[in-house]
């Protein structure tokens, strides 16, 4: 028992150590982090890196990230909720539902870089290259297959009897969805939304390829471009990393619950 506890503490400490290091480095003057000491906590804490970020108006990039995250989540839910309901409940001609699910799996396993080349040309053709709307659209390639797959399990858990009762009372499909099915599966919808949002907030490849003007960068793109600028500009880099991580770390309990719910709902 004691050994188990010690082991659990040790791995948990190893797990958060790099994150603690990042938080501490964000508050260290440059002299401290290039001095070659393993001291984690800053001796003379400073806000200079955060101030430098504020001066560079980094909050605008945070706003880009936020817009893309919310937009991606809303669009994904709006499209995937009805689709998941149809796949779970309605009969499709010629097993088209199975075909659709296989298709979704294929999309899910396609490496994003593979789609990047032709998607770039599609977005350019639609005039959506270098726009947040275009990025939100491109993110559906990750978000939709994931959301449909996860929501499918939650729709199946809604008792059919509820729907039948409403149908006898004369309710149409839209009424049934909005008044009965969605409220009953609300925790599942919330879990799905959280995971889609986290993935969109963290995404790098498409943001990096499709948003070319620096004013349209999301936080991960801003971090990646800074990594290569100066090899040891760690204070600002850590401060930026901290800003990009704090919202998610604050929600880690909710994210964990969403993941657990997802695995129980047959996500894996």
């Amino acid at each position: 028992m004691r050994a188990r506890l010690a082991g659990a503490f040790a791995v948990a400490a190893l797990s958060v150590l790099p994150i603690v290091w990042m938080a501490a480095t964000a508050l260290k003057p440059p002299g401290e982090y290039v001095s070659g000491s393993t001291a984690l906590w800053p001796r003379a804490p400073t806000l200079m890196h955060l101030e430098a970020l504020a001066a560079a108006r980094v909050w605008r990039l945070g706003l880009n990230s936020l817009v893309v995250t919310l937009g991606t989540t809303l669009v994904a839910l709006a499209a995937s909720l009805p689709a998941a309901y149809a796949l779970a409940r309605l009969s499709f001609p010629r097993r088209l539902d199975m075909a659709f699910l296989v298709f979704i799996l294929v999309v899910k396993l396609t490496p994003p870089i593979v789609l990047a080349v032709p998607l770039y040309q599609v977005l350019r053709g639609l005039g959506l290259l270098d726009t947040l709307g275009g990025l939100i659209l491109a993110y559906q390639i990750y978000a939709l297959p994931f959301a449909i797959w996860m929501l499918l399990g939650f729709v199946r858990d809604v008792p059919v009897a509820y729907e039948d009762a409403a149908r006898i009372d004369g309710a149409g499909t839209a009424r049934i969805l909005l008044d009965i099915v969605f409220p009953v599966m609300a925790p599942g919808i919330a879990a799905t939304a959280i995971l889609v949002a986290v993935a969109a907030w963290n995404e790098f490849l498409f943001a990096f390829l499709f948003m070319q003007s620096p004013s349209g960068f999301t936080l991960p793109t801003a971090i990646a471009t800074r990594i290569n600028e100066d090899e040891t500009l760690w204070g600002q880099l850590s401060a930026l990393g901290l800003l990009a991580s704090l919202p998610i770390l604050c929600l880690v309990g909710i994210v964990h619950r969403a993941l657990t719910r997802g695995f129980a709902g047959g996500l894996a």
Partner: protein
Amino acid sequence: MGAARLRLLLLIGPAAAILCLLSVYPLARLLVLSFTDSDHGLAGARFVGLENYAELAASRSFRVSARNTVWFTVMATASEVLAGLGLALLFDRAFPGRRALTLALVAPFVLSTVVVSAVWRAWFHYDIGFLNVALRSIGLPGVPWLFDPDLALGSIVLVDLWQNAPFCFLILAAGLRAIPPEVTEAARIDGAGAWRRFRDITLPLLAPYLFIAALMRSLDSFKLFDKVYAMTGGGPGNATETLSMHVHRLAFRYFEIGLASAAAIVMIVVAALLAGLYARALLKEGAR
């Protein structure tokens, strides 16, 4: 069209339309591009047949990136599933503070890969990185984590392990919870030791979860891009160049769209084979 068909179309139409626009059309376009010498779009591109594929087959850099990708996928998947199994077993019994420690474990997994790469790149710094400073402080020599071509990809596996072992941990913990305690209890009463209970009961019952964890992790490792881009840029030399990096380089640096498309098609085929292999294994497992 009947009312039922119309309803179906309205419900699934938007999702299907978006996915077609974002995947079916681009994939078809990709396939066509892979048979051309395009450097931009389809306009003005010349049909060259299988020339791009032949060029890839003969290309040393493509072979190196394929080998690196396979090596990384195998090493990352194996280490993450094993570590996840260890963590799931460690956290399977209730103890004070378990929930908080679980969250500490999950934290790296929810962070952006770019943030993770930024921190670890700093940690791997040869002169003043946290790891080498710590090693030297206990009298050991520093390790050229990202400078040594023989070590660099292994160092990236280490980062991937730190970030993604929690994912395997969550899946396998769910698997352990699904094993009824009576089963292991009965074996204990019959005199089976801890190792035998693990080998003959826990492991077989956990097999489908191990499969899923390995499947998800290998499909994801196969796509490796962000970490390499942010930590080594594919170097030193091409020691950490992966297929994703290679396609990116061909398409967005050299504008060899035709060649990049052919490489992308090869990637899809390999990913599909990988998934198919797992699907067959899963079906067999289910049939037993």
